[in-house]
C-alpha cells in the first residue's frame, strides 16, 4: 500500500474527437496524502477536471486512458471494472461540480437526491436515510432542513444548491472530496461562504480535498499542495509556499503576477500573460507554453522539457530551470 491516498503516475489520456486526437493529459503525476488539500490550478482546457474525473472513472465518452497508474486508497483505479468503481464513487470519493444550477436533477426533491446516495452505499432503510439526509443538510448549514428535503432544486438559490451538492457528496463520509471549481458559478459573497464551509467540514470529517480552480486566490487560502497545469501537463508542483514564494516556472510566475494583491503600490499594473492558450488539436512540438513564454529558448520549441526537482516535493517541467540547475551543477563541480 502506498503512503499516499491518491497516487497518480504518468497518466496519459486522450479524447478521440471527430476532428482528431486531443491529448488532454500528458504524463500527469499527482500525489496526495490523507487529510491533505491539493489545489489544481490552470486555465480552461488545461486538463484539471479531466484528471479529477479520471480518478473517479467518470471520463466522458470519446476519452480514453492510454497509460499510467491511478491508485486511490489502495485501489488500482485504472484496472477496476465499472461495477467495482460504483462501490467507490459517492462512497469513498465524492465530487462537487461547477454549476449547482444544472447538477441536480430538476424532477426530484432534494431529499430524494441525497437519500439516493445513502441508500445505495449503506444498509440504512428509507426512514434512516431520510434522517441522515436531514443531518447532512444541517451539517452543510441549511436552515429548516425538514422543509428543504421536500423542495425541488429550482426552489433553491445557487448557494443553497451548492450546499446540497456538498451534502450529497458527504453522504457516505468519503475519504476524498473532489471540488471542481465549486465556486465559479456563484456570487462572490457566496463563494467565500462555500469555501469556508468546505474547510470546516474538512476539519470535522478529516477528508482529503482536491480543489480544482483557475483562481489562485482560492488555492492560496486552502491548499497545502498545488499543481499548476498547462495544456495537459503539470508544469509545476509544490507546497503552497513553494508555489507562492518561490515559483520557478514562467507560467506560474505569470499567474502570480496577474493576481491583484492588497500590498501593491498604487498605479502598479497587473501583468497579464500574453498570447492565447494552445490549440489542443495541434499542440506544439516542444513545451506547450513556449510560444507565450518570455524566456523562451530555441530548445523549448523543439523538445518537451524534462522534470527538474528542487526538493522533496517541488518540481517543474521547464528547460530554463533545467538549464539553471545544470549550470549550478557545473559551477559546483
Amino acid at each position: 500500500m502506498s503512503e499516499y491516498l491518491v497516487d497518480i503516475k504518468n497518466e496519459r489520456l486522450s479524447f478521440f474527437t471527430p476532428a482528431g486526437e486531443v491529448k488532454a493529459l500528458n504524463d500527469v503525476s499527482i500525489q496526495l496524502k490523507e487529510g491533505e488539500v491539493l489545489g489544481i490550478v490552470g486555465e480552461s482546457g488545461s486538463g484539471k477536471s479531466v484528471t479529477a474525473y479520471s480518478l473517479m472513472g467518470l471520463t466522458a465518452h470519446p476519452g480514453k486512458l492510454l497509460g499510467g497508474s491511478l491508485i486511490f486508497n489502495g485501489h488500482q483505479i485504472d484496472q477496476m471494472s465499472e461495477k467495482e468503481m460504483r462501490k467507490i464513487r459517492g462512497n469513498e470519493i465524492s465530487i462537487i461540480f461547477q454549476d449547482p444550477m444544472t447538477s441536480l436533477n430538476p424532477v426530484y426533491t432534494i431529499g430524494n437526491q441525497i437519500m439516493e446516495a445513502v441508500l445505495f452505499h449503506t444498509d440504512k432503510n428509507r426512514a434512516q436515510a431520510r434522517e441522515r439526509a436531514r443531518e447532512l443538510l444541517e451539517l452543510v448549514g441549511i436552515n429548516e432542513p425538514d422543509k428543504r428535503l421536500k423542495q425541488y432544486p429550482h426552489e433553491l438559490s445557487g448557494g443553497m444548491r451548492q450546499r446540497v451538492m456538498i451534502a450529497i457528496a458527504l453522504a457516505c463520509e468519503p475519504k476524498l472530496l473532489i471540488a471542481d471549481e465549486p465556486t465559479t458559478a456563484l456570487d462572490v459573497t457566496i463563494q467565500a461562504q462555500i469555501l469556508e464551509l468546505m474547510m470546516s467540514l474538512k476539519e470535522r470529517l478529516g477528508m482529503a480535498i482536491i480543489m480544482i480552480t483557475h483562481d489562485l486566490g482560492v488555492v492560496a487560502s486552502m491548499c497545502e499542495r498545488i499543481a499548476v497545469m498547462y495544456a495537459g501537463k503539470v508544469v509545476e508542483y509544490g507546497t503552497a509556499e513553494d508555489i507562492f514564494y518561490n515559483p520557478r516556472h514562467q507560467y506560474t510566475k505569470g499567474l502570480i503576477r496577474s493576481i491583484p494583491r492588497i500590498d501593491t503600490r498604487e498605479h502598479e499594473r497587473l501583468v497579464p500573460i500574453e498570447g492565447t492558450p494552445v490549440d489542443m488539436l495541434n499542440p506544439p512540438k516542444g513545451c506547450p507554453f513556449a510560444p507565450r513564454c518570455e524566456a523562451c529558448m530555441k530548445i523549448c520549441l523543439r523538445e518537451m522539457p524534462p522534470v527538474t526537482s528542487f526538493g522533496e516535493v517541488h518540481y517543474t517541467q521547464c528547460w530554463l530551470n533545467q538549464k539553471e540547475e545544470m549550470e549550478k551543477g557545473a559551477a559546483n563541480e
Binding site: 492565447t276 490549440d279 513556449a290 529558448m297 530555441k298 530548445i299 520549441l301 524534462p306 522534470v307 522533496e312
Partner: protein
C-alpha cells in the same frame, strides 16, 4: 526522489539555450482560420451527404414537374381512345398500328389510367401541383407568420398578450376539421368570384387550390408566428444586442448584423420544414377529394383514384404514393441538414 539526472538521450548544444526569436515563437502557434457564420454553415451543409442528396432529388423532381411536361408528347387531360388502362410501356391497338406503319410513338412509361390518359404526365403534373401548393402555402405562412410574430414581439405588453392569446386559440383549433369545412364552404363564393369580371384567373388557378391557400393563410401561420416572436424577443433581450447598443451601434446595423444573422438561420430551417408539411396537408385533402379540381391531378388525388383499381393496377397507386413520400422525405432531410448547418442551437 524526483531527481532527474541529465541522463536522457538528448544531444544538447549550448546554442539550444539561446533565447528564441519572436518569429520562431509565432511559428509554433497554430491558429485555425476564423470563418464567417454563413461560410461555416455552407461548409457544413455541403459536407452533409444526406442533405446534398436531398437537394439533388428535389431538383430532379422539380425538373420533371416544371420543365419536362412542356416537351412531353402527351397532355395530362387528353383522353386517348382505346388506350384505357394500359400497362407501363404498353401501346394501344391504334398506336401499335402506327408503329407498324413506321411511325414513332412515345411509350406510356407508366401506362395510362382508366380514362386513357398518359399516367406519366399526370404524375408529373400532380407533383407540380403538390410542389406549387407546398411552396406558395409556405410563402403565405412565412409572410403572415413573421409579420404577426414580429409585430407582437416589437410592441410587447398588452398588444403582445392579446395577439398571442389569439394565436393560442387558433393553435388549439383542430386544423383538419376546419380545413375540410373551409374548403367546402369556400367553393361557392369562389365559383361566383370566378364569374365576376376581372377575376377570371380564379378559374385558371382552380378554386380548390385557392381555398387551400386561404386555409393555410388562416390557420397555419400560428406556428411560424410563435417562432418568430420568440426569436425576436430573445434577440431583443440578448446581451450582445444590449452590448452593441451600449457601444453606440445604430439600429439599422444592429438589425442587419445581429437580428438578421441570428434569426434567418432559424427562419430558413422552419420554412424548409414547413414545405413538406404543407404538401402533406394538400395530399391529405386531395385524397379525401377536397383538393384540386378534375381534370387537374395532384399526387393525393391520383392515389385516391387508384385505390379502387388497386388489385389490377397497383402501380397506379404506388407511383404517386411513393413520389409524395419521396418529396416530403427530401424536404424533411434538407431541413434537418440546414438546421444542423445554420442553427446548431436548435439541435435537439
Amino acid at each position: 526522489m524526483k531527481q532527474n539526472p541529465i541522463s536522457f538521450q538528448l544531444k544538447l548544444n549550448p546554442e539550444d539555450f539561446l533565447p528564441a526569436t519572436e518569429e520562431e515563437k509565432q511559428s509554433q502557434v497554430v491558429m485555425r482560420e476564423s470563418i464567417s457564420f454563413w461560410k461555416d454553415g455552407m461548409r457544413r451543409l455541403v459536407r452533409n451527404k444526406v442533405a446534398m442528396v436531398s437537394i439533388v432529388v428535389i431538383i430532379v423532381v422539380m425538373l420533371f414537374s416544371f420543365v419536362v411536361p412542356a416537351f412531353y408528347p402527351y397532355s395530362y387531360k387528353e383522353q386517348m381512345k382505346g388506350a384505357n388502362n394500359l400497362a407501363p410501356m404498353e401501346y394501344s391497338e391504334e398506336e401499335q398500328a402506327r408503329i407498324e406503319a413506321g411511325e414513332k410513338v412515345f411509350p406510356h412509361i407508366f401506362g395510362t389510367d382508366k380514362m386513357g390518359r398518359d399516367y406519366a404526365i399526370r404524375v408529373m403534373m400532380g407533383s407540380r401541383i403538390s410542389l406549387v401548393v407546398g411552396l406558395i402555402a409556405t410563402g403565405i405562412i412565412l409572410i403572415i407568420g413573421s409579420a404577426y410574430g414580429s409585430i407582437a414581439a416589437f410592441f410587447g405588453g398588452r398588444v403582445d398578450l392579446i395577439m398571442m392569446r389569439i394565436v393560442d386559440i387558433i393553435y388549439t383549433v383542430p386544423d383538419i376539421l376546419l380545413i375540410v369545412l373551409l374548403s367546402f364552404a369556400l367553393n361557392a363564393p369562389l365559383e361566383n368570384l370566378k364569374n365576376a369580371p376581372g377575376f377570371a384567373w380564379v378559374g385558371v388557378v382552380g378554386k380548390n387550390l385557392i381555398s387551400i391557400f386561404i386555409v393555410f393563410a388562416l390557420l397555419y401561420w400560428v406556428g411560424m408566428a410563435r417562432m418568430v416572436r420568440s426569436q425576436v424577443l430573445m434577440l431583443k433581450e440578448s446581451e450582445y444586442v444590449t452590448a452593441a447598443r451600449a457601444l453606440g451601434v445604430g439600429n439599422g446595423k444592429i438589425i442587419k448584423k445581429h437580428l438578421l444573422t441570428n434569426c434567418i438561420g432559424t427562419l430558413i430551417v422552419t420554412t424548409t420544414l414547413q414545405i413538406p408539411s404543407s404538401i402533406f396537408t394538400e395530399s391529405f385533402l386531395s385524397f379525401l377529394g377536397m383538393g384540386v379540381a378534375v381534370p387537374l391531378p395532384s399526387l393525393g388525388s391520383l392515389a385516391s383514384d387508384a385505390i379502387n383499381g388497386m388489385n389490377t393496377y397497383p402501380y397506379l397507386l404506388f407511383i404517386p404514393a411513393l413520389l409524395i413520400s419521396l418529396i416530403i422525405l427530401s424536404f424533411n432531410l434538407l431541413g434537418d441538414g440546414l438546421r444542423d448547418a445554420f442553427d446548431p442551437k436548435l439541435k435537439n
